[in-house]
């Protein structure tokens, strides 16, 4: 194992304990760990962003074209990008509107038909599938339809939630609660998974890899 790998594992283990110290109570060691995490994340993000986006798509075509010709067309998006940054200069902030107008207009033009055709309609169609082919499938489909109908009624605020509307709305609440429960259960599972991941790192990479010489 190289020295840098060894150092990396020790630093990672130390930072893990610094963050875990919050579980006892808030403390300066945790704050330091938190600040290091934020700083490194931002710095790393910036480098990745620059070398994967700004350099190959804005700077390289203009200043380092290699064997090809310089691509002056990239000046247009660069200027539009600079316009957005000018929001921080009050006198020139109005220029950002042109960039935003172009961006929002273009994106809305693409997004509206794409979302309707790609998500909304297929979801509606799958909700209204024919019952079957097996009895359990048919029962599941009926429950799904009841759930969708009752939940929509619960979120329909143009009628007072009294009588039949109120009863259907309350059934809708039951379905919403079941969905929240499923979401909560999955969230617990996800958080425990992350803790397991940290323990696996500490046991295998830190203790096993650096102290016991194995994996």
């Amino acid at each position: 194992m190289s020295f840098m790998t060894l150092l990396g594992i020790w630093v990672a283990a130390l930072l893990t304990f610094m963050i875990f110290s919050f579980l006892y109570k808030d403390n300066p060691i945790f704050k330091v760990g938190e600040a290091i995490f934020l700083g490194i994340s931002l710095g790393y993000g910036w480098c990745i962003y620059y070398w994967n986006n700004i350099f190959p798509q804005a700077i390289k075509p203009l200043f380092y074209p290699g064997d090809g010709e310089r691509n002056y067309l990239v000046i247009i998006p660069i200027i539009l990008g600079i316009f957005i940054l000018l929001r921080v200069v009050p006198k020139l902030a109005w220029l950002s509107r042109y960039s935003f107008a172009l961006y929002i207009g273009g994106f809305a033009g693409i997004a509206v038909p794409t979302e309707i055709a790609g998500r909304f309609l297929p979801q509606v169609v799958s909700t209204m599938n024919p019952f079957g082919p097996t009895i359990p499938d048919a029962i599941a489909q009926i429950i799904l339809l009841i759930g969708v109908f009752c939940t929509i009624v619960f979120f329909f605020f143009s009628l007072e939630h009294k009588g039949a509307v109120g009863t259907i709305g309350r059934v809708g609440v039951v379905f919403i609660m079941v969905a929240f429960g499923a979401g909560f259960g999955y969230t617990v599972m996800a958080r425990v998974s992350l803790l397991i991941g940290r323990f696996q790192f500490l046991l295998r990479d830190w203790i096993g890899g650096t102290m016991m010489g194995g994996g």
């Binding site: 579980l23 006892y24 994340s41 790393y44 993000g45 990745i48 962003y49 070398w51 994967n52 986006n53 190959p56 798509q57 994106f107 693409i110 997004a111 794409t114 979302e115 055709a117 790609g118 998500r119 297929p122 979801q123 169609v125 799958s126 799904l144 969905a179 499923a182 979401g183 999955y186 969230t187 617990v188 599972m189 996800a190 425990v192 998974s193 992350l194 803790l195 397991i196 991941g197 323990f199 696996q200 046991l203 994996g215």
Partner: protein
């Protein structure tokens, strides 16, 4: 009984943390190998990849960061081994800034995997012909639309600044429509966008591995078959590892599978804690009510 109830209801949260720590730690030290079965949504994703012909191309989008390594990175490894074992070519990319290097690391790790040491499992794999890692590109949906037009114009270079146009893989695979399957491994909300901006537009089947937090919200897409398969969280990944046979491939129990004992232990503790705490809570309510009446 009442005193014990008070202790339970006012238990220091640090004791609960300690029990959770032990529930995670002990099964990792002393594995119990609690059996688990594969669910249909995971089998569907696995079977789709298995059904691809050798030489087919799978696009894997690594839309996760280091925080979800236990749920997503392990799945990435299992999927890559499955593809390489079947001679399926892989194009990997990333839409999340802090996951860019993880995608590269995972692809190299799987492509150059040795078991036993010194014996490469896939010696014939060649970068640029059999697999490639495009790296990170900002824009999310704009990137999906971009690769729908052309890979080389959206990603002129790969993660290590090698021109895509020089790679044999991209002489054949020009755009997303030429890809046979999309697999999104995500800890963020991109799977929904992969449906509408890529899969539905280009008519390419899509499966998803997501964190457990997002799994519940994605079931409607599985139910509508817009996701051909859904691998949710560490449990889904463990099932996938079992289907791929990762223990045999890597020569040890894979991470997600190994973590399932701890997962089960913590879940049992949480369920018991909820039951016990609620029991004493209602007992206290009843006791307080009786006391109030007597007064």
């Amino acid at each position: 009984m009442q005193k014990f109830g008070d202790i339970i209801l006012n238990l220091d949260r640090r004791i609960i943390y300690l029990i959770v720590f032990l529930c995670v730690l002990l099964p990792l030290l002393f594995p119990m190998k609690i059996p688990f079965t594969e669910t249909q949504e995971v089998k569907d994703a696995f079977n789709d990849i298995e059904a691809l012909e050798p030489g087919s191309v799978v696009l894997i989008s690594c839309d996760y960061g280091p925080s979800t390594i236990p749920e997503n990175y392990t799945m990435y490894q299992a999927l890559l081994h499955q593809c390489f074992r079947k001679d399926i070519r892989v194009i990997a990319m990333c839409l999340v800034t802090n996951g860019a290097s993880l995608g590269n690391k995972g692809l190299k790790e799987a492509a150059e995997f040795e078991n036993p040491p010194g014996n490469r499992l896939y010696p014939d794999l060649e970068y640029g012909t059999d697999y490639a890692y495009l790296g990170y590109k900002a824009g999310g949906t704009a990137v999906m639309l971009g690769i729908g037009q052309s890979f080389t114009s959206t990603f002129p270079e790969d993660f290590e600044s090698r021109p895509l146009a020089d790679m044999p893989l991209f002489n054949e695979i020009k755009a997303l429509g030429d890809v046979d399957y999309i697999f999104d491994i995500a800890s963020v909300g991109y799977p929904e966008f992969w449906v509408s901006y890529a899969s539905e537009r280009e008519n390419v089947p899509l499966s998803v591995n997501c964190t457990a937090v997002s799994a519940a919200q994605y079931y409607p897409y599985y139910q509508s078959r817009q996701f051909r398969g859904l691998v949710g969280g560490m449990k889904g990944t463990a099932e996938y590892e079992q289907l791929v046979g990762m223990e045999e491939i890597i020569g040890r129990v894979p991470d997600a599978t190994r973590g399932m004992d701890s997962q089960s232990a913590v879940h049992i503790f949480i369920v018991l804690a909820i039951i016990v705490a609620n029991f004493f809570y209602f007992m206290k309510l009843r006791y307080d009510d009786t006391e109030r009446r007597q007064a």
